[in-house]
């Protein structure tokens, strides 16, 4: 009963500080919402993240038919918004960041394409958009690789047909024939029929087309295929095949802010010591173990309340998944909170003053958050950091929430994270009780 009275007293004090409550409860939700707006997820759909990449195409003399086709082809993919400009405008657009990249096609592309000349397609990249410009370059490089393979095979199969043999007159014919829209191109072809250069060009073209057709057909018949199995989606997908990113972000931010609030609760020992109320309580019939258990319990109750409110709000606001059964999440919440309170209670008991505890706990919160996967998925870390991450409690807390909320896997299927948290909680509780008793006896809390 005395423990319950002490816990009630602590909770009343906490509930009295509404702004602190607001920060602990509202801030994780606000940050989760910001991340949702940034990267998409839940009711915000999948519209977040990188938007269509603005690309400028540069070609001085490309026939209209080809520019239209290239524009349509690039925009159909949904990755790009395409505009055409001269090289100086494109250079300025990329340098100022209006376009992520410019694709500069060589001058006299059509004529030179049908000759043996080397061609260089340039990609000018925005220095402020390393990621987007990198995507443009990578997609172009992949598309070009297949063409390069085909051309290398063609020239190794029919070395007699060196494209250098195409004279200037014939190259001009090709350019004129392809100039304009579809109707104009057709009219160009019709009107050129009597021309001897055209006849020679047409014969060469028939031969070339036969070879291209055979090559194209052969390249479609892949002999060795690569069957690729990607890693399973990081989380359970909805009916549209989308992963709700809030299932990752909300637990992550919740655990992060939980560490701050738990540190605050544990720091209360020092506040009580400074104001003298701790000493008064220790002089009462209350035993030191009872006092310590009451402090531990009130910190756990506050933490559980905080996480439950956040997760329930997340379920309502962001359609966060609360797990496959009714007991996995509460159990994970409870073990996460007991382990967290154990860690920060230990820090409080090891710290001489509130100020030291304040600084120490903030350092521990931030470093643990980084190592335990609250700031970045632990899978993305280098091996040595991943190894270190296993030694912070929030790693196991994040893992248990990830399993339950993102993977929709109950504790029964993977009990390890919750078991680790439970064992850590028990060990730390015992250590904290012994440490508190030792400090009281040595007069360290007087």
């Amino acid at each position: 009963m005395r423990i319950i009275a002490l816990v009630r007293k602590d909770l009343q004090r906490v509930l009295g500080d509404r702004r602190a409550l607001f920060v602990n409860l509202a801030l994780p939700l606000v940050l989760t919402f910001i991340i949702g707006l940034s990267f998409g997820g839940g009711f915000l759909g999948s519209g977040g993240g990188i938007s269509a990449i603005p690309v400028v195409m540069v070609s001085e003399e490309l026939p209209a038919l080809l520019t239209e086709r290239i524009t349509e082809g690039l925009e159909e993919s949904g990755f790009f918004t395409v505009s055409w400009a001269d090289s100086s405008t494109a250079d300025a657009l990329v340098r100022e960041g209006t376009a992520a990249a410019a694709v500069v096609l060589p001058q006299d592309l059509v004529e030179r394409f049908f000759s043996a000349e080397n061609l260089v397609i340039e990609v000018w990249k925005d220095p402020g958009s390393a990621l987007k410009a990198g995507i443009v370059e990578e997609i172009l490089r992949r598309a070009l690789t297949r063409y390069q393979a085909g051309e290398a095979a063609y020239r190794a199969l029919w070395p007699d047909e060196e494209m250098a043999q195409v004279g200037d007159a014939e190259a001009r014919i090709w350019r004129n024939l392809l100039d304009g829209n579809f109707t104009e191109v057709w009219e160009n072809w019709r009107s050129a029929r009597g021309d001897t250069t055209f006849t020679a060009a047409a014969e060469r073209m028939a031969l070339t087309m036969d070879r291209h057709a055979a090559l194209s057909r052969a390249m479609g018949e892949t002999r060795i295929t690569l069957a690729v199995a990607d890693k399973a989606p990081a989380g359970q997908t909805d009916d549209d095949g989308q992963v709700n990113l809030f299932n990752f972000f909300l637990p992550s931010f919740s655990v992060f802010f939980l560490m701050f609030s738990v540190a605050g609760s544990c720091r209360d020992i020092h506040r009580e010591r400074t104001t003298g109320t701790l000493q008064r309580q220790l002089l009462s019939p209350l035993g030191d173990l009872e006092f310590m258990l009451a402090k531990w319990s009130s910190a756990v109750v506050q933490a559980v309340f905080q996480l439950l409110v956040l997760f329930l709000s997340g379920a309502l606001l962001f359609r966060v998944n609360l797990g496959p059964d009714i007991w996995s999440l509460p159990l994970a919440v409870l073990t996460c909170c007991t382990a967290g309170v154990g860690v920060f209670m230990l820090l409080a008991l090891l710290s001489r003053t509130e100020k030291i505890m304040d600084n120490l706990s903030t350092v521990v919160v931030l470093v643990s958050a980084m190592l335990g996967g609250n700031m970045m998925p632990i899978d993305a870390m280098p091996a040595w950091l991943r190894a270190v991450g296993h030694y912070v409690f929030n790693y196991w807390a994040n893992l248990s929430f990830h399993n339950i909320m993102a993977q929709d896997t109950g504790i029964a299927a993977d009990p390890q994270p919750v078991l680790v948290l439970a064992v850590v909680s028990l060990i730390l509780l015992a250590v904290n009780l012994l440490l508190f008793r030792s400090r009281v006896r040595r007069g360290g809390l007087a």
Binding site: V123, L131, A232, L385
Partner: protein, 408 residues
């Protein structure tokens, strides 16, 4: 205005902050720790990834020349370590190893792979990979390319008309010159060349492709803002301790007090920024561009914004705990929206617009533009005007609120 009072307040603030060693941790140590650790996590956006090489396991039961040819372009890669095993494991185990990030990818080459390639027979090989990992994506890209080469050779050999069957039919060739094919493969006629424009475009992979170029300035801004906003509780404490009231009955006016607090915060912010920027430059090789005036102005304006914000917060909060909580909240929200945690280019356009309207977004964009584009003062007038406006608005609000507090 009484310069002596202002100077005394400024010196007192500096002495208080710098004499407390724990403050030095927040001012200088933690920002550097964050820059280092986050740099380790983010790696190089364009080409690096984490510095340690994850393993790419190849379970090679063939061991023939085609397997060697397939894997040749994947040896000695900077992003992964190719490990060839002549035994195999169950595919379930390989998949689990990829799922748990123990390896970056796993490839199974069955026995008879080389024979199938030589005979042009169809065959399927299995790759387990993780599309979220750069190293794994690289494995797949290189394998796709290597396999394309092998398939193209096999396909081209299929277009060679057998000897003694007369002239080649349309679309058939008399022979396939494989040596010529390999030369053309290595030196294609149509090539793609990527160039990053900007102030140092001749340096390959320069500028913001290195995450440190973003993280160094980003965490400098973040910790400047956090330290100054969290120091708002000092103003609350001074109110509670009645030291402000005591100063008011002396020769100090409210303007002196505001200026004293403001300059104290601003000087602290400037000292912090200067040391952090130098440390980042020395430790991580960060290059801040060629516009020292712009660099000085952005640091000055941002320190002003943070210091004015700190006074406003200290005037609004009733208790130290409230000031702390609100300081953390404002810092986190401004950091996440303003692109200090991730570059703004990865968020939708409306979030970019919102981010660049905030002081954090404006400050980090100035850094990006100086580093990557080589911009100077004249090129970034809009951003500086934005930062200046934030400073003016916050300063007016801070003075107004502070004077009300004093007079009330």
């Amino acid at each position: 205005m009484n310069p002596a009072v202002i100077r005394a307040m400024l010196m007192l603030r500096l002495r208080r902050v710098l004499s407390d060693r724990s403050n030095l941790v927040w001012l200088f140590v933690m920002p550097m720790v964050f820059s280092f650790l986050m740099g380790q996590l983010m790696g190089d956006w364009n080409s690096g990834g984490p510095p340690s090489k994850p393993r790419f396991m190849v379970y090679d039961l063939d061991g023939g020349p085609a397997a060697d040819a397939l894997l040749a372009p994947l040896t000695d890669n900077e992003r992964f370590l190719l490990v060839r095993a002549d035994t195999t494991v169950a595919t379930v185990q390989a998949r689990a190893a990829v799922e748990h990030s123990r390896i970056t990818a796993a490839l199974f080459l069955p026995s008879g792979f080389s024979e199938a390639v030589a005979a042009g027979q169809p065959l399927e090989i299995e790759l387990f990979y993780d599309s979220d990992r750069l190293s794994s994506q690289t494995v797949r890209t290189l394998l796709d390319r290597s396999l394309l080469q092998i398939n193209t050779v096999a396909m081209a050999n299929g277009l060679v008309q057998p000897p003694a069957t007369g002239a080649p039919a349309p679309g058939m060739a008399a022979a396939f010159d494989e040596a010529r094919f390999r030369t053309l493969w290595d030196e294609p006629r149509v090539a793609l060349v990527g160039t990053t424009l900007g102030r140092l475009q001749e340096e390959e992979g320069f500028a913001l492709t290195k995450s440190a170029q973003h993280l160094g300035p980003a965490y400098t801004i973040f910790f400047m803002l956090m330290f100054l906003l969290l120091s708002a509780k000092e103003l609350v404490t001074e109110r509670h301790d009645r030291t402000l009231a005591r100063l008011m009955v002396s020769r100090a006016s409210s303007v002196d007090l505001v200026l004293g607090f403001f300059l104290g915060g601003m000087v602290l912010g400037l000292i912090q920024a200067a040391i952090l920027l130098v440390l980042n430059s020395v430790a991580f090789g960060i290059d801040y561009g060629d516009a020292p005036l712009a660099l000085a102005l952005v640091v000055l304006l941002f320190a002003g914004v943070a210091s004015a914000g700190s006074i406003l917060l200290g005037s609004l909060a009733r208790t130290g705990a409230q000031a702390d909580g609100l300081g953390v909240a404002v810092t986190m929200v401004l950091a996440s929206l303003g692109g200090l945690w991730w570059p703004l280019e990865v968020v939708p356009q409306f979030m970019q617009t919102l981010g660049k309207s905030l002081p954090t977004g404006q400050a980090i964009t100035v850094f990006h533009d100086m580093i990557g584009r080589g911009y100077g003062l004249a090129d970034m007038q809009t951003l500086f005007a934005g930062l200046g406006s934030w400073f003016a608005v916050l300063m007016v609000l801070a003075v107004w609120r502070f004077r009300r507090l004093i007079s009330g």
